[in-house]
């Protein structure tokens, strides 16, 4: 398929997207195409531009430059058609209303909603229907927000830090429900801080830094952009660790950690020079290492 054809059939097509707040270029030229059915994780450190990008995608803020198409429509038209919806990070619930009332209201405002009971069931909160929103835990509130996002039966679901207030168990349950939803062929874009969530649930990872996309691909591909492995070993009396294939050396007493571009060459040279080296462990770099390597400049 040509690029135009891909864009025409895309769930999301962002091109040349820019947004600045005063002197800060929050989003600085983002191009992104997401095909229907993809589950995409949007990663990046705080201030990378994730939330700003999500806001523009939802039509909640207007870009300074660039174009946004959601199923070929403007964000607002896609919202009106019920094709895109979102679980907002700071999305509030009305303190003086019940769960069923809040979800019922949002359903009533949509043109073709699913039954409220079904939305509550899919979000796993059927038992909370009559509960006032003030009486909910953080994780329960997140699930109500999930129900609010589901109720219009969107083709594209955008989740901004969906599991941030959840404990480990609730997170797992949430993603199980999420998976049940994505199995029906829906498109999902979720911004997250938790790399393990991206690794486990996303087909594709988009990494942002300073308002730009710095990596985009499958988890394996993104991992591979930071090639190399880590070699750990205990080397009594190691003096010179200037070995072939080693990029960086870290040591704590007899323990050494070598970041290698060629771990095979490094381990051979290490054993030749220090035959007493033991407890050798070689691991591939994880998504977290890739993440740190690709986004690290911000933290320095």
């Amino acid at each position: 398929m040509t690029e135009t054809a891909v864009r025409a059939g895309a769930a999301v097509a962002l091109s040349g997207l820019r947004k600045r707040f005063g002197e800060v270029r929050a989003v600085d030229g983002v191009d992104l195409v997401i095909s229907p059915g993809e589950v995409v994780a949007l990663l990046g450190p705080n201030g990378a531009g994730k939330s700003t990008t999500v806001d523009m995608l939802l039509g909640l803020s207007v870009p300074d430059a660039g174009e946004i198409r959601v199923f070929g429509k403007s964000p607002r038209d896609a919202v009106v058609a019920g094709q895109i919806s979102a679980m907002l990070q700071s999305g509030a619930l009305l303190d003086d209303a019940t769960v069923a009332e809040v979800v019922g209201l949002i359903a009533a405002l949509h043109l073709k909603p699913m039954p409220v009971a079904q939305a509550l069931r899919q979000a796993g909160i059927a038992d909370l229907a009559g509960r006032r929103c003030t009486k909910l835990s953080g994780g329960q509130k997140q699930r109500v927000r999930f129900a609010l996002a589901l109720v219009c039966e969107p083709d594209l679901l955008v989740l901004d830090e969906p599991t941030v207030a959840m404990d480990v168990e609730t997170r797992r349950a949430f993603w199980q429900q999420m998976r049940a939803y994505t199995d029906t062929g829906r498109t999902v874009l979720f911004a997250t801080h938790y790399l393990d969530e991206a690794e486990e649930y996303a087909d594709r990872v988009v990494l942002m830094r300073s308002g730009r996309i710095v990596a985009d691909g499958s988890v394996a591909q993104v991992r591979a952009t930071v090639s190399g492995r880590t070699l750990r070993a205990v080397v009594p009396g190691a003096a010179d660790l200037d070995l072939p294939g080693v990029r960086a050396v870290e040591r704590r007493g007899d323990q050494i950690m070598l970041t290698c571009s060629d771990s095979d060459a490094a381990v051979r040279a290490l054993l030749t020079r220090y035959p007493h080296a033991h407890d050798i462990e070689i691991t591939a770099l994880g998504l977290e290492d890739a993440f740190l390597a690709l986004t690290g400049e911000d933290n320095r």
């Binding site: 919202v79 999305g91 509030a92 009332e101 209201l105 009533a108």
Partner: protein, 242 residues
């Protein structure tokens, strides 16, 4: 306008104990208090209006202001919560949002006015049916500028500053509007300010059938200017935020 939206908003307003006390009950309590303060209610003001009738209109007017202003306060809180963002992910338009809030303000103001008038009848206010209807209708329609004022405050103030702004507004529009002190006894400069406020003119309109010398044209003009001005501010403010 979405009736489900309005329905839920109404239910939330009624559920709020503070609403019931301040906007429905308080005007009537003040009314009873004042009637007893001014004696047996047999007296008549220089303009020919019986004291009880005049007090009834003033306290109903107080209710007309209080209800809509409380609705504005809720807009500020909802803004602070991020609820408006949630609503913007639905087909609800800005016009739909503002008209629903406006209709809500009008509905919320009604019980307080009705209650004051019922107590007025009990306390001895006598007028024929068309006049009762006229007074009620004028008071209720007189709520329009205050509904808009509530919305404007709700769109401008922060949730924290809301209480102070609402208090200031009801002070300004109540005290200077002639609810608590009549414009006749105010010095000229103060009377000038009072006559620029919608409160004064809504009261004038309410009294119009019973006293002579009410400038209905000017009353309608001043109120219309407030309605137009506040509408423009509300719409611009809403657009600027979204």
């Amino acid at each position: 306008m979405n009736t489900r939206f309005l329905g839920l908003e109404l239910r939330r307003a009624v559920r709020n104990g503070r609403y019931l006390i301040f906007t429905v009950v308080l005007p009537s309590v003040m009314f009873v208090l004042f009637v007893n303060l001014y004696g047996d209610g047999e007296g008549t003001f220089p303009n020919g209006l019986p004291v009880t009738t005049s007090l009834m209109m003033n306290m109903a007017l107080f209710g007309v202001m209080a209800g809509p202003l409380s609705i504005g306060a809720r807009i500020a809180v909802e803004r602070g919560l991020g609820w408006q963002r949630q609503l913007r992910l639905t087909p609800l338009t800005g016009a739909g949002y503002l008209t629903t809030k406006g209709a809500l303000g009008m509905l919320v103001g009604l019980p307080g006015i009705l209650l004051v008038c019922v107590i007025g009848a009990v306390e001895g206010v006598r007028m024929d049916a068309p006049h009762w209807f006229g007074v009620l209708a004028t008071l209720w329609l007189g709520a329009i500028p205050f509904v808009l004022l509530g919305i404007v405050i709700g769109l401008i103030a922060t949730p924290d500053g809301m209480q102070a702004v609402t208090g200031l507004a009801s002070m300004l529009f109540g005290l200077l509007g002639g609810i608590w002190i009549p414009a006749d006894v105010a010095p000229a400069w103060l009377a000038g300010i009072m006559k620029a406020l919608p409160t004064f003119w809504v009261k004038q309109l309410t009294q119009a059938p019973f006293v002579s010398g009410v400038d209905v044209k000017q009353a309608l003009l001043v109120i219309a200017l407030w309605v137009a001005g506040l509408s423009v501010i509300a719409v611009r403010r809403y657009r600027a935020q979204n």
